[in-house]
């Protein structure tokens, strides 16, 4: 497989970091970004750019860094995302701006900036959507909606910019990140909550960030050259089962 020049947004931790690690292990050049300082534990081979993807200038600067450091960007992984745990009634304008700016405008900004060259010379875009963009997580209204946007944009890019550009999305389920662990810590009975949640996963475990990185690696590889415009669910079988599972009661 040819060595890619890859940008992974939101690579400081969690799923984004696992994607950075995997792409480096596969021999690609990787530029990643976040709103803060370079994380101390980020592998030396990865180039860090402090950037807010919701800002158009930052997105352009990120692409430029990749192009000048490694040559023409060929792979873009839009992973950066935020969540606000509120219903529509509870969400205020700031919540809307935060979620939509990062999860929607950020993905759009990065795609638009990357497509300047990709549309002519070819490229591969992988967006991180969510199962929550298909079925609703309670009290996550803006997040759920923002992920549905990502799925729709993915299909549009595949349709508009094929055959030069392939574009796909991955819909992770429950991936054990610091974000998910915080959720369980808040449960009335954390142990019971964990057992209940586990029982809803046909594969018998929660996802790990590297489960998503595995899919990214495949979508970035020459094994997937006929795959475009798809949104693949990687959730341990959770959404294949009815949310109503009488065996659990």
């Amino acid at each position: 497989m040819e060595k890619q020049t890859a940008i992974v947004t939101g690579g400081s931790r969690g799923i984004g970091r696992a994607i950075v690690d995997r792409l480096l292990a596969d021999g690609h050049n990787v530029v990643t970004c976040g709103r803060g300082e370079r994380p101390k534990d980020l592998p030396e081979a990865a180039v860090w750019v402090q950037a807010d993807v919701s800002k158009t200038d930052d997105a352009a600067a990120l692409i430029k860094t990749a192009n000048t450091t490694f040559g023409q960007i060929t792979l873009l992984v839009n992973n950066a995302g935020v969540q606000v745990e509120k219903t529509v009634a509870d969400s205020d304008d700031d919540d809307w701006d935060l979620v939509m700016n990062v999860n929607c405008k950020g993905v759009f900004n990065m795609c638009r900036a990357a497509l300047v060259d990709m549309a002519e010379q070819g490229g591969n875009i992988i967006n991180i959507g969510s199962i929550s963009g298909v079925v609703a997580d309670p009290s996550m209204a803006l997040y759920n909606a923002s992920k549905a946007f990502v799925h729709g944009l993915t299909r549009s890019i595949a349709v508009d910019h094929g055959p030069k550009v392939r574009c796909n999305a991955i819909r992770p389920g429950w991936i054990m990140t610091e974000m998910a662990e915080d959720g369980f810590a808040l449960a009335r009975d954390p142990e019971q909550a964990m057992a209940d949640a586990l029982a809803r996963h046909p594969v018998g475990r929660f996802g790990e960030p590297k489960d998503i990185a595995n899919m990214v690696a495949w979508l970035a590889s020459d094994q997937s050259t006929y795959v475009s415009g798809e949104c693949f669910t990687v959730d341990g079988g959770m959404t294949a089962a009815s949310p109503l599972n009488p065996g659990l009661f």
Binding site: D137, D196, S242, P246, G247, L248
Partner: protein, 264 residues
């Protein structure tokens, strides 16, 4: 009355959901044939409702042909066919015998195939009168996402969904609309059997507690009634739905709109 002058046939017409559809069609002014294995159907009792009972095993080609011949002789057309007959085997594939598997497909899939096949000439005749004829199959939300221990049922309903789209493509040009209703948890004899049946969670537990727990998982905090299903069937059967075809109409109180509900 939305269905005045229309001739309808409902399979499983004396069962949980079918019976509610028959009652609604009658109220809307249709002439209704209720087809079922027996006049009592799965509710094991029946009060006269003004429908015309036809004894029919939907998996029996001869019985289906005889019923359609009767409709042909009496009215010469069929405006509405509702394939509501269905059975449910509550087992994993390992526990399911070949006979049970075959019977599931015979009733849920072959039955839908046979009644539709022999109703089509009558429905074409109805469509010639100017308004479209409406064929309504019964899929299930289980055709999209699985309930545990219902393997054959899930598979038959997925097949009905695909058949619905295929029929809509093939027979749309003839003025026949084809849709499927995909119910979630509806209060029927089938659901009660699921609650109390082997391995479904009913054992050792209090059925009221179980039912409440099931209701609580639904965004609407209740499961549906046969009348809820009949409301949508009635609309799809009516001329108001004249542009609706080839679709799978999920009616589950929002159950499948949500991610698995973790007890946090």
């Amino acid at each position: 009355m939305k269905l005045e002058g229309k001739i309808a046939l409902v399979t499983g017409g004396r069962g949980g959901i079918g019976r509610a559809i028959v009652a609604r069609f009658l109220r809307e002014g249709a002439t209704v044939y209720a087809a079922d294995l027996s006049p009592e159907g799965s509710l094991a009792q029946h009060d006269a409702d003004g429908s015309r009972f036809v004894e029919m095993d939907v998996a029996d080609e001869g019985a289906v042909q005889a019923a359609m011949s009767q409709v042909q002789a009496e009215f010469g057309k069929l405006d509405i066919l509702v394939n509501a007959a269905g059975i449910e085997i509550e087992k994993t594939i390992e526990e399911t015998s070949l006979e049970e598997w075959n019977r599931s497909f015979a009733v849920n899939c072959t039955g839908t195939f046979l009644t539709s096949k022999y109703a089509l000439p009558l429905m074409r005749a109805a469509a010639k009168s100017g308004t479209s004829a409406s064929l309504i199959n019964f899929g299930s939300y289980d055709g999209f996402i699985a309930d545990p221990g219902l393997a054959a049922y899930c598979a038959t309903k997925g097949a009905v969904h695909a058949l619905t789209r295929a029929m809509a493509c093939d027979h749309g040009p003839e003025g026949i609309r084809v849709n499927a209703i995909c119910p979630g948890y509806i209060d029927t004899p089938m659901l009660q059997s699921f609650f109390t049946g082997d391995g479904s969670g009913g054992e050792g537990g209090n059925i009221d507690t179980l039912q409440q727990a099931v209701r609580d998982v639904h965004p609407m905090r209740t499961y549906g009634t046969p009348e809820d299903i009949a409301n949508l069937v009635n609309w799809l059967a009516s001329d108001e739905a004249r542009y609706a075809s080839g679709q799978l109409w999920v009616l589950d109180g929002g159950l499948s709109a949500q991610v698995q509900q973790m007890k946090l």
